[in-house]
Point group: C2
Chain length 191, copies 2
């Protein structure tokens, strides 16, 4: 795998097909990771995203304190880890750190002080655009994407190439109750 920066005007394409995300966050000595299926692009350039982050979560507390978060895009090889981090609160484990609890490796963000989950296939580092009404009423956070990167085995030249990469690197779409769909067959109607 080769890690490559993604041009910001193409960053929305990481998220355009609706994959499940893992939201990473950090503040002071604390860091955390949660699953979020409710995330989508909100603008092209500068790229923005919208993501729902429940008030009960430790992630919410860390993001409100730091003003930054990252959307990590897990792949099929990480389905169990995605379910694991989505099934327990950071409030219920030692030091609130799911990375440590589940033995998940990270690297630092390229632009922001936020941990990125290794083994994912795409990453969007985001700075919160403060919208207190949305955050309070809908648990809805808006972020500007400050940096984006991807595993160039599956995302290069501004688009996904799952069809020529190992199946283990396909992204996931969350259903409920431990069930996912894997990103499937490619259809190109303009070929």
């Amino acid at each position: 795998m080769t890690l490559a920066a993604v041009d910001l005007p193409r960053a929305y394409r990481l998220l355009n097909h609706g994959p499940v995300t893992l939201v990473s966050s950090a503040h002071g000595e604390h860091r955390n990771l949660m699953a979020a299926a409710w995330a989508m692009p909100l603008d092209f350039d500068p790229p923005k995203v919208a993501v729902v982050i429940d008030k009960a979560t430790l992630t919410r507390e860390l993001i409100e304190a730091s003003g930054v978060f990252a959307l990590n895009l897990p792949c099929r090889a990480q389905a169990q880890a995605t379910l694991d981090v989505g099934s327990i609160s950071g409030r219920d484990i030692a030091h609130g750190d799911k990375f440590a609890h589940f033995g998940l490796a990270t690297r630092p963000g390229a632009a922001l002080a936020v941990p990125l989950l290794e083994g994912c296939v795409g990453w969007l580092e985001c700075r919160v655009i403060a919208e207190p009404h949305n955050q309070g009423r809908y648990d809805l956070f808006i972020g500007e994407v400050i940096a984006a990167s991807a595993d160039s085995d599956v995302f290069r030249d501004g688009r996904w190439h799952f069809e020529v990469a190992p199946a283990a690197k396909r992204t996931l779409h969350y259903v409920a109750g431990g069930a996912f769909y894997v990103t499937g067959e490619s259809l190109n109607l303009r070929d």
Copy 2:
């Protein structure tokens, strides 16, 4: 195919895996249909959705006038129609009616005055929750789901069953430039 109502607390599951949507709208004698990949659930019960609708679109004008819209979930058999309605503005065709222009059949909404596209596999009828700041600044609309329905060949008992249905009824995930991914293999980690 059998059309069945979807219980409102399970309506979010129609959208949870991130499929592309077609937004239908109507006001007075006008009606329209546009493609929107940027749509997601926003709450469980009562269910809410968020969707991005550009200011330049005829759909935007109709939704702002009527206060209602529907998210239709097209399936693989409708990939070309999805691309077609996403490639031209209602402002550029006769009477602004893409249903008529492309010969697309509709039925009336069960609860709201909005046309639903036949041949889709799921439908969410939504009433706009007025949020002028979000609409103006981000083109972001929030809707409460008032009624939901699905093709019970692929969605029943509150979940999708693509794995036992014809491939033509799988949902789509939009990439860019005429490319889609089809919803793929099912992974159930709690079986």
